[in-house]
């Protein structure tokens, strides 16, 4: 398949503990194609956070082959993994995780500056901010001066700034009220409609129901994969 952005083959992740090994992912195989909107659901402790960390290149599997954007990450150094996170993956977190020292505009510009080693002069940052509905005046504010919904929208703009192959969302509406949650989810859906691969990890069946494909995980294994 030519347009595979994520490909997992027999992935296992084992955490060795004194009381015995904990198997977080158990021989899990999965493939996600470009442009898909995938929801990964499962109860806590099911291994979905571990899977998310693998997909986000924050961690490498104990065994198995994991390809992100066509590149195998199992043997990558920390430097290469970090570079891959910068250029290939857009993170959206439950707690927004904007950098408190930077303004909204600078938060969006930050990954751009890391990638291109210069400030944004193309107007991309402003364009993305207006796309998610943050006006110029709000963009000058520090994250602590913005509402939760505004912060999450800035975070989405930040995730998009380096034009990633995958948008990886960890409970993106978990810290928002239902009305704002719907707004944020609509932004994400629109991005998917424009062709962005979207992976959302959630335990909220309502959000999951909006996805094209729902993958249910339990005890480190995929128990259901369908729409």
């Amino acid at each position: 398949m030519a347009d595979e952005v994520v490909c997992l083959k027999h992935i296992s992740k084992v955490y060795p503990l004194l009381s015995g090994d904990v198997i977080a992912l158990d021989d899990l195989s999965l493939s996600i194609e470009k442009g898909e909107f995938v929801a990964i659901i499962g109860p806590s402790g099911s291994g979905k956070s571990t899977l998310l960390n693998q997909l986000g290149c924050l961690d490498v599997p104990t065994s198995g082959d994991l390809k992100i954007g066509g590149r195998s990450i199992a043997l990558m150094s920390d430097y290469e993994l970090t570079d891959l996170r910068l250029k290939t993956i857009g993170f959206i977190f439950q707690k927004f995780n904007l950098l408190p020292l930077l303004s909204a505009y600078e938060n969006v510009e930050y990954p751009y500056t890391l990638k291109y080693r210069k400030k944004d002069t193309s107007g991309r940052v402003s364009k993305l901010l207006s796309l998610v509905g943050i006006n110029e005046k709000l963009a000058k504010h520090k994250p602590s001066e913005l509402s939760g919904g505004q912060q999450q929208r800035v975070a989405i703009a930040r995730a998009l700034v380096n034009n990633p192959k995958i948008l990886l969302c960890d409970e993106p509406t978990g810290n928002l009220d239902s009305k704002t949650g719907v707004l944020v989810l609509n932004i994400l859906r629109k991005l998917n409609e424009k062709g962005k691969t979207l992976i959302i990890v959630t335990h909220d069946p309502e959000i999951a129901s909006q996805a094209d494909r729902i993958i249910t995980i339990r005890d480190g294994k995929i128990v259901e994969d369908g729409s």
């Binding site: 970090t82 910068l86 995780n97 950098l99 930077l102 990954p111 400030k119």
Partner: protein, 394 residues
């Protein structure tokens, strides 16, 4: 390109301004103590050298006491038991006469009495002609013309409330002050400031020791002959056994400045303990800065910031604190050093010289390096943090 990593470090220093300044003050204190000690040493040495080189054209020959060459006190104060013989005096005149003015000097610590007060003071006896040559500056009065008149030093006159014409007694002889010598400071040949200078004849009539001087002084015409005269006297008079000792002031200058250096290096060493304290506080502050930003580090790492960029951010932060402390330290060192030296040395003639001010950049560099070094480990800790663990922190 304006470095975003640097900008973030700068902002963190600014946001925690009070904390950063307190940490910087530690470095500042360290820099001040090191710089001040260094500058004090240089200024002290320069000042001592200055006052000593004023009499660098003088050599003094005294009998060899057999106690080795380590004597620290001025030779004029040596006890009167060992004297130079008349023939030794003549030899010295013969050797050194062509290089400058040679004169013999009697000296003793003697009892001086005025009314009911009795105290002991340094008493010199030299020829009147020598007085006129060597003590050529009198503040007031004139040279002794009668048998019982003497010259006194300015401190002696002031401390004992004496003036021209005042009388007091030495031993059993009453004397009268005919003149007061101008202040000469510390000197190789005679320390006249708080002494009595009388004629050779009068000295010999009170204390004896006819024609047997304690010391022979040579005032050189050319300062560059010092070495030559010194070695010539040594060669001719100490051929068979050590009989005399020649002292020139250059040796004394180097001796004094080396002991000043020893003292100030020791003081600097103690002062640098304050830098150690500062290093601990910087370390602590940087550890705090890393710990309270664990989550932020996690975010930075997860969105693609490299380990070495995290490291750089915290090292920049330590550097900024160090620069702040160093600049503050430089300004305060200048002010405090100036006042300190004014009080301790008495003048600041040598303060704005290269040798003195060079201690500022030295101290600043040491402070800055210590600051960066103590920021390295916390920065490394921050950089090595597992992004998943860091993201989980609250």
């Amino acid at each position: 390109m304006k470095d975003i990593i640097f900008a973030m470090a700068l902002r963190n220093v600014r946001i925690n301004l009070l904390r950063s300044i307190l940490a910087a003050v530690g470095i500042t204190i360290g820099i001040i103590s090191i710089a001040c000690m260094g500058m004090l040493g240089t200024n002290m040495t320069a000042s001592v050298t200055d006052s000593l080189s004023a009499m660098a054209d003088k050599l003094s020959v005294s009998p060899f006491s057999g106690k080795g060459g380590g004597g620290g006190g001025a030779p004029g104060m040596s006890s009167g038991s060992d004297n130079l013989t008349k023939s030794q005096y003549k030899s010295i005149v013969k050797i050194a006469g062509k290089y400058g003015y040679v004169y013999g000097l009697h000296s003793i610590r003697g009892k001086v009495k005025k009314g009911k007060d009795e105290w002991s003071t340094q008493i010199y006896g030299i020829e009147v002609s020598s007085m006129k040559t060597v003590l050529n500056n009198l503040t007031s009065g004139g040279y002794p013309s009668s048998d019982n008149s003497v010259l006194v030093g300015p401190s002696f006159a002031r401390d004992n409330d004496l003036k021209i014409g005042s009388r007091f007694s030495i031993g059993n002889s009453g004397v009268k002050i005919s003149g007061i010598i101008e202040s000469r400071g510390m000197s190789m040949d005679m320390n006249t400031d708080s002494s009595v200078v009388m004629t050779k004849d009068m000295y010999e009539s009170i204390f004896g020791a006819k024609d047997e001087y304690n010391q022979v002084n040579i005032v050189l015409n050319d300062i560059n002959d010092a070495e030559a005269v010194s070695s010539e006297v040594d060669a001719q008079m100490n051929r068979r056994e050590e009989t005399v000792r020649v002292q020139d002031s250059s040796r004394m200058v180097s001796m004094i400045s080396s002991s000043v250096t020893t003292i100030t290096s020791f003081a600097t060493l103690i002062a640098s303990i304050s830098l150690l304290v500062a290093a601990v506080s910087i370390f602590n502050i940087m550890m705090m800065s890393v710990t309270e930003r664990i989550r932020e580090i996690g975010v930075l790492r997860s969105i693609g910031t490299q380990k070495k960029e995290i490291l750089r951010m915290f090292v920049y932060e330590a550097t900024l604190i160090g620069v702040l402390g160093a600049l503050l330290g430089m300004i305060l060192s200048l002010i405090m050093g100036y006042l300190f030296i004014l009080i301790m040395v008495g003048n600041t003639k040598h303060f704005f010289t290269y040798d003195s001010l060079i201690h500022l950049p030295y101290a600043m560099a040491i402070g800055l390096i210590i600051c960066i070094l103590s920021g390295l480990y916390p920065a490394w800790r921050g950089a090595q943090m597992d992004p998943i663990e860091a993201l989980r922190a609250d």
